[in-house]
């Protein structure tokens, strides 16, 4: 009989086993899907846990791991988005290897690190002890450092360096906060340790000035990993330079895991210091994040950086919701975590595909995607709608609930300011993505992306170019001759037969990627209409944090 304690270890053990398999087997047709398999196991274990812990929390492994409704929900988030990212990885790497930008060894190492990354994140949300939580989050920084710097280009190395230095500094501040909280706890009447449940229960006996210092350090430290002001400068660089599946995971999940840590700290802080302190701190950081995102999104020229700044905005919204602190706000915040994670993962995977098609990350040079690849453009467009909070996607429901809760809690001025900033960001994102999806296709989309010869011709001859796409590209190469691209089009015309078939085969988004994108969007939409059994879990999880006087 499977004891409950074992279920707690599965989400951590399964990805570690997958990583070991990658170390041994490398990247092959069969092993490519191991990562997705591990993610599925994590998701299933998460759902099992969710049903088990709705009555009472589950503790295992000598008190080092613990699952309550909040951890179960976060585990679902991790599992779902990891599944999306790892399911899109085989197609992503197939295209990268075909283009000569990666080797099978790179792909194997990537999948190994991603599996370890998922294991570390699962460990963080299942940690029963603040110290273990810290160790797990630090582990994610170290693992992702190599993932961010995977392509050995100058910007990638610079991004990796900034990422490690800034995040390690933030995490070091969080460690100082942990140690000071431990000090306050051992000197309190209840003599608690760093065990989260004990600490939350004994929090009202903690010395106030010392706890204030500890909580401030912890929130600022974990806020660094979440992308909140002031130590947010690493986020746009790291998320834009990392490969697409990694960006999806980092933006979608890692930021939320850091937010989970902040939620746990907030529970302790509210019990010890009253809700005012954490609320004020989170409000300041949230407004700072929204302002930074709004000002820097307007002039953004790189679409991956644009998505990264947009993540900062949503993290600001999460912090805002957490600052409000009522059960309704917290439930909305948790739903937002899931919705944002899904939509952001879809967009990053889509943008990774756009990068592979066009070879550029500049918004200016990508135009008319709807003409060349309607499916991809449709998914990206719907993803943008989802992120901007349009119904039926779940972000609409969660943002609405958050703002309502904010007004109800008396934070009207702050919420109005936040809404204005969100409006600015919406306009910016609309403008940039509209530019990319609509209009006549840009040269970057029409001309074949440069690639080594032999593999490309093999692919061209092997696949019979699907006629609809060939006709559309032929139709669009005609107007191109009338533009100022005359000399280039002459070259394009002479190389047209091979070019069109090559472009055709390259422009066709792989089926697995499309399935992943559509699955993500569908889940987001379904959640927006009816949360189903998830609703009860959300309310239980919200009560875990808000259940303080």
């Amino acid at each position: 009989m499977i004891t409950p304690g074992i279920v707690l270890l599965v989400p951590i053990a399964a990805p570690i086993l997958a990583a070991a398999a990658y170390a041994v087997a490398g990247w092959r047709r069969a092993s490519a899907w191991l990562g997705a398999g591990a993610a599925t196991i994590v998701l299933c274990a998460a759902i099992t846990l969710a049903t088990t812990v709705s009555r009472s929390p589950l503790v295992g492994m000598g008190g080092l791991v613990r699952a309550d409704p909040l951890s179960a929900f976060m585990l679902i988030v991790i599992g779902a988005i990891a599944l999306l990212a790892t399911a899109a990885t085989p197609a992503y790497f197939a295209a990268e290897i075909a283009a000569g930008r990666a080797t099978a060894r790179t792909a194997a190492r990537h999948s190994l690190l991603v599996a370890l990354f998922v294991a570390a994140m699962s460990g963080a949300v299942l940690a029963a002890n603040l110290g273990v939580l810290w160790v797990a989050i630090e582990a994610t920084t170290i693992i992702t450092a190599f993932l961010v710097g995977q392509r050995r280009t100058r910007p990638a190395v610079e991004a990796a360096w900034k990422y490690v230095v800034i995040c390690s500094t933030g995490i070091a501040l969080a460690l100082l906060g942990t140690l000071i909280l431990n000090y306050a706890a051992t000197n309190s009447p209840a003599r608690a340790g760093l065990n989260l449940a004990e600490l939350t229960a004994a929090a009202h006996g903690l010395d106030q000035p010392v706890t204030r210092i500890a909580v401030a350090l912890l929130i600022i430290g974990f806020g660094t990993k979440m992308g909140l002001v002031p130590l947010h400068a690493w986020l746009p660089d790291a998320h834009s330079q990392a490969p697409a599946p990694v960006s999806a995971l980092m933006s979608g999940v890692l930021l939320s895991v850091a937010f989970y840590a902040i939620l746990r700290v907030k529970a302790i802080s509210d019990a010890a210091l009253g809700s005012g302190f954490a609320r004020a701190l989170l409000l300041v950081m949230a407004l700072g994040a929204l302002t930074v995102a709004a000002t820097l999104l307007l002039a953004q020229r790189d679409y991956k950086r644009m998505l990264a700044y947009h993540s900062i905005e949503h993290m600001g919204l999460l912090a805002l919701g957490a600052a409000v602190g009522t059960p309704l706000a917290l439930a909305a915040v948790l739903l937002h975590v899931l919705g944002h994670g899904l939509a952001k993962a879809v967009l990053f995977l889509g943008s990774g595909r756009i990068l592979q098609l066009t070879g550029t990350t500049q918004v200016e040079q990508v135009r008319g995607l709807a003409g060349t690849d309607p499916v991809l453009a449709g998914c990206v467009g719907l993803g943008v709608f989802a992120l901007l909070g349009f119904p039926p996607f779940s972000l609409f429901a969660s943002e609405l609930a958050m703002f309502r809760a904010g007004y109800a809690a008396g934070l009207g001025a702050v919420i109005t300011l936040a809404l204005l900033l969100v409006l600015v960001i919406t306009a910016a994102l609309f403008a940039h993505s509209g530019h990319m999806l609509l209009g006549n296709p840009s040269p970057a989309l029409i001309e074949p992306h440069p690639a080594p010869g032999p593999e490309r011709s093999d692919v061209a001859t092997a696949s019979a170019a699907p006629t609809p796409t060939a006709i559309t590209t032929a139709v669009f190469t005609a107007p191109a001759t009338t533009t100022t691209l005359a000399p280039a089009s002459a070259v394009a015309q002479t190389a047209a037969p091979a070019a069109t078939s090559a472009a055709a085969s390259a422009a066709r988004t792989p089926t697995s990627t499309v399935i992943v994108l559509i699955a993500g969007l569908l889940t987001c939409a379904v959640l927006g209409v009816a949360a189903g059994p998830l609703a009860q879990l959300l309310h239980l999880a919200a009560d875990t944090i808000a259940a303080t006087p």
Binding site: N129, A139, G149, T153, V157, W161, T169, A172, I180, N182
Partner: protein
């Protein structure tokens, strides 16, 4: 161990920590900075050893030996290897804030650390907790070095100084931090340094010199 001897040795170890931090801020030659960091590691291990002798705790003795190996030998060795691979430039020539001003800023940071740690000392006054401001000063000085130096190795040493300071505060506040957590922290420090070392090497390859002033391509 008598009480006065304990207090004296504790204070001497803290003085050594402070002096190490000041000398890292003061000197320009990278090899000297690394040696000062190693000396500070020895002072930290001595501090934990004094605490261990006072509390007669075997755990703490083990941790003291571990700290001596990790922070006084392994980490400086790694840094020295990175230095030899770094090329001819061996000095921090143009820090963001010049040396005289940084030393005066460190004085201000010391006062700030003292002010901030007052509630911490007031919670449980004892000779050990009265030395907490020393740890906080080292953290602040490490942060300052991290932010104002241009060379990758100097920034790395600044980060490690911060970590030394945090470890000091940890051991002075409660000597009973769980062994698991201490192991985890040490492992993370080691891995962070390894990662940064590898990244320094990559920066060397791609940029030609580990002067982080060159890293200005990603900006808005």
């Amino acid at each position: 161990m008598t009480e006065t001897l304990y207090v004296q040795l504790l204070d001497l170890a803290c003085g050594g920590l402070l002096l190490g931090a000041v000398l890292v801020l003061w000197r320009r030659e990278l090899s000297v900075i690394i040696r000062m960091f190693a000396a500070q590691g020895v002072a930290l291990a001595a501090l934990v050893a004094v605490l261990a002798a006072h509390q007669r705790s075997v755990d703490l003795w083990v941790v003291a030996v571990g700290l001596l190996i990790l922070r006084a030998s392994v980490l400086p060795l790694l840094l020295a290897r990175a230095l030899t691979a770094a090329g001819p430039a061996r000095r921090e020539t143009r820090p963001l804030v010049n040396v005289a001003a940084s030393l005066l800023a460190a004085a201000v940071l010391a006062l700030l650390a003292y002010a901030v740690s007052r509630p911490l000392v007031a919670l449980a006054p004892s000779p050990a907790t009265q030395a907490i401001p020393v740890g906080v000063t080292v953290v602040l000085i490490g942060f300052f070095v991290l932010v104002t130096r241009r060379r990758a190795l100097s920034q790395l040493v600044g980060f490690l100084l911060m970590d030394n300071g945090i470890t000091t505060v940890g051991f002075l506040t409660t000597a009973s931090v769980s062994l698991v957590v201490e192991l985890g922290v040490s492992l993370d420090v080691l891995l962070a340094v390894l990662v940064l070392r590898i990244l320094t090497a990559r920066i060397q390859e791609t940029f030609g010199d580990a002067d982080l002033d060159e890293l200005a391509e990603l900006h808005d």
